[in-house]
């Protein structure tokens, strides 16, 4: 076998290997890879309020899903920095998805009895549905002030990943 054939063969083999692992590489490079975790979701807090405003259908090359809403703990102190993360929990493992925070004056105004400050009451997060393993997932929110122990809430929203489909299971 001459040299050019060897190079071609090596190229084809490398191409095949890359083809097999390309999804993982793309997810890693784009920062969309999700790590499987063990998260205990059995204890949820009754002091949390929430609402999910938007769940977008999977869109774009990475079949990205965007979820936006608000959540707060009634025990929040005024003007503290808060953090919310989304948890997609299957029977055996979970994915934790970071979110951005936003100010929600409408939520503050709707709950005057808790004397909330509007900062960080809202959240929004995007994840690639390609990064999710096939199965059924419940959506939890982890809500808390930065530096304090966060509390969990169950949103009663369930999703199913099947093939390329990622859809909310409607009750």
């Amino acid at each position: 076998m001459n040299k050019s054939y060897k190079i071609l063969l090596a190229f084809v083999v490398a191409g095949l290997v890359l083809l097999l692992f390309s999804t993982k590489i793309v997810l890693l490079v784009t920062g969309n890879a999700l790590e499987k975790k063990q998260i205990d979701t059995t204890i949820t807090s009754p002091d949390l309020h929430y609402h999910i405003d938007i769940i977008s259908p999977p869109e774009g090359l990475l079949r990205s899903v965007f979820i936006r809403g608000w959540a707060f703990d009634t025990k929040y102190q005024a003007d503290t920095k808060r953090q919310i993360t989304m948890i997609l929990k299957s029977d055996t493992f979970a994915y934790e998805i970071p979110t951005f925070s936003e100010s929600r004056e409408d939520v503050r105004d709707a709950f005057p009895r808790y004397a909330l400050t509007a900062n960080d009451l809202g959240f929004g997060g995007t994840f690639s549905s390609i990064a999710i393993q096939e199965g059924k997932y419940e959506l939890f929110l982890k809500v808390g002030e930065v530096g304090a122990e966060p509390a969990l809430l169950k949103t009663n929203k369930t999703f199913i990943k099947e093939g390329v489909r990622f859809e909310e299971v409607l009750p």
Partner: protein, 501 residues
Amino acid sequence: MKTLENSTTEPGTKTPAKKVVLFSFLSLISSFLVACFPLVYFTNRNLEWINTHDFFQALGGVALHWLIVIIINLLILKDFHLASLTTIFIILPLSLFKSGFAYISRVVPAFQYWHVLMLVFTFYILLIFIIKKYVKPEVSKKLNIIAGAVFLMLILINASPFISQQGGEKRKADQKNNALGQALNAISPVGDKLPNIYLFIFDEYAGYDGLLRYTGFDNQKFYDDLSNLGFKTSKHSLSYSTSSNTEITNLLNLSTGAMKYTEQEKNNAMKDPFLLKLLKEVGYDFNLINDQSFISTPKTYFKHQFVPQGYFQQDENLLSLLIEKSVYYPIRTTTSNPRMLEVNEMFAYGAEASTIQQSGLFTFGYLMFPHQPWVVDENGKLLDEKDRDNFENTDIYLGQLKYSNKMILKLVLEIIENDPESCILLLSDHGYRHPSRLKKYRDISMEDPALEYLYMRNTLNAVYIKGEAIDFEDYSGINTLRLVLDRLFSLGLGMIEEPGK
């Protein structure tokens, strides 16, 4: 390059240098013809929506793409014929990548964009290897010319409707325009305060009858809500055409001249439209909402304007369509969320227009909504990407139309609150073109094309004029506009012939 070097001065060579240069040129032209085929094909399929400006912009894009590919191939293969042959083989997979990808993902759903991209890249490397190793320039030259001839034939077949349209009889100037020209001189001075005028065109908003026929939905509540806000509505209005280019050109010129115009002539008629000239004489400033950059009237005309998207994000644009079909489609954002943001921004800007100036502002909004892309249901929930162009399911269109009802009511409520002494016209350029889409894309014939054409021209038509009563019944958008202008400025424009029924 090898071919040219060989061709220059070798003494005693049998092939004259000129002939070699000619064949090299023919090889290049052949590959360019192959590169142009998708452009001609999609132009032919979308002839009624494409104007000359669109076509030449897309041609420029195709030429640039071809040039880049051929230069890369020349650098690798160092021969014009071989580079052209490689370009012929690779340019179509690059240009029609998305169709191939859609087919592969139907068979292997787990395949993503990057998988197919790598397959194309592997194919390209193998192609280079095979052509470099096994194909002689002389053979390549013949193959190129054969391919060029085949594609030239295909291009001519596809281009024939376009050529016949462009080369048709010289259109007569619209006599109505002369009559209207006289109206410019007849403008009588008006009071100090010119009421703000808002003209919104909602592309493909079906009139009452058309909507009922094609979706079974009775839109009466929307008309009632508008009436309660002080609008006079007309449920049976017709446009003159089902083509946005034609009808909007007509509306902006208050005539039906564009019915006979070529696409180039329509484009010219939009440059300095009669309606704007007239209102400028009266003393109006102009404000434009230009979805898809559809309105080609020069920017200098407008004191304010809002363009919701960049060139590559436009939906009705030939270059965007070609990019959408090609390997480069990820550069275009076609997801529902950004499109809905654009739509929300346009409605918000329309409402804000009522706070720009107290009088003398003509706001013209062209919104490609509820026209496809269909991105939202009646409750404002974003639709899945697969329904974006789902023309077969009429519920998809209906959902977006119902949502547009809510948006339109919110818009006009805000304008009337801020600017009760204004004049608001809500029109559509044509109705819901469901049967023509079924015919065009599924070859499903209409039982009675004349009757369907009538329903497809049934449009939205509602007028608010300072909260006062205005009497009109089933006028076309153009006649409604003429009536309103006569009412406001006593111009004596009168009516033109209503669209044929």
